[in-house]
Amino acid sequence: MERERVEPTEPQALVDRARHGDRDAFGELVAIHQQEVYTLAVRLVRDRDEASDVAQDAFIRAWRAMPKFRGDAKFSTWLHRITVNTAWTHRTKRNRVRLDPLDSLISEPQATTLDPIRAGESVSIGPIIEEALSKLSYSIRSVVVLKDIYDWSHSEIAEHLGISVTAAKVRLHRGRKELRLRLDGCQDGAS
């Protein structure tokens, strides 16, 4: 699948214009960041339709909060935080309706594309690990994704998921262990 990517010419200028209510500038930022926001959403909630809703809501929240963006963090980091909060809200709403019955049953194949910068490098078990990740429960998976893929600190994870730092560490330990077991199972099955 071919990937479209709009290269940022002057991202800071776009952010500044968007902060002042420039919709066109914000539209360019959406085009630049939609793939990474959607990717994070898929990794958190797994279901692609839900991830699309999460990504859409995250951008709408970002637009509303643009005047508050002070540039203390990178714009993409700020967007990631909004996406995590939005995914958490979606998941909470969803759990009020039903108790996550599909979470451990459905395994959706995930077509992935490599960032061109890293395209030459090997991604031997990338799809396998994505699938193994998708089988973890949401509460465990979100911690593993944020820590091991996006390199968030335990305190950032705890703050954005509304849990204690200790709980974040415990979930990470359980998640890595479960993931390793699942990967061992995959490799045993393949050999």
């Binding site: 420039d22 793939q35 959607y38 990504a55 859409q56 005047p67 995930q110 991604v123 690990i129 390793r180």
Partner: protein, 113 residues
């Protein structure tokens, strides 16, 4: 499984990119089973870190949906906002001062009379 193997097994999921403590590391170097476990975790950790650069294509039309959902109301212009705030605040302060002075004058005249 020996006590040290168990300790390694418990420690590995918490380690991530961090270095492993001395005694455990010495054991890993001398135990083939623990070396295999350690390598498995290291590889898993590296693969997870590499996923940071793997992106899933966004659904077609996502950005259009976002832009259609923003609504006609744009966020307020920050600079314009401050331009309005300063004169309004100054006018409010002047009006308050004038009203206060008028009340004091009235009270003074009432007592003088």
């Amino acid at each position: 499984m020996s006590v040290m193997c168990s300790a390694v097994s418990v420690a590995l999921p918490s380690v991530g990119n961090d270095a492993i403590a001395g005694r455990l590391w010495s054991h890993i170097e001398s135990c083939a089973a623990c070396q295999t476990r350690y390598t498995g975790y290291r590889e898993m950790h590296d693969e997870l870190a590499d996923l940071r650069f793997v992106q899933i294509p966004a659904p077609i039309g996502l950005s259009q949906k976002v832009m259609a959902s923003l609504g006609p109301v744009a966020v307020p212009d920050l600079d314009e906002g401050w331009d309005h705030v300063v004169p309004v605040a100054a006018a409010a302060a002047l009006a308050t001062a004038a009203a206060g002075t008028a009340v004091l004058l009235k009270l003074y005249r009432h007592r003088a009379a």
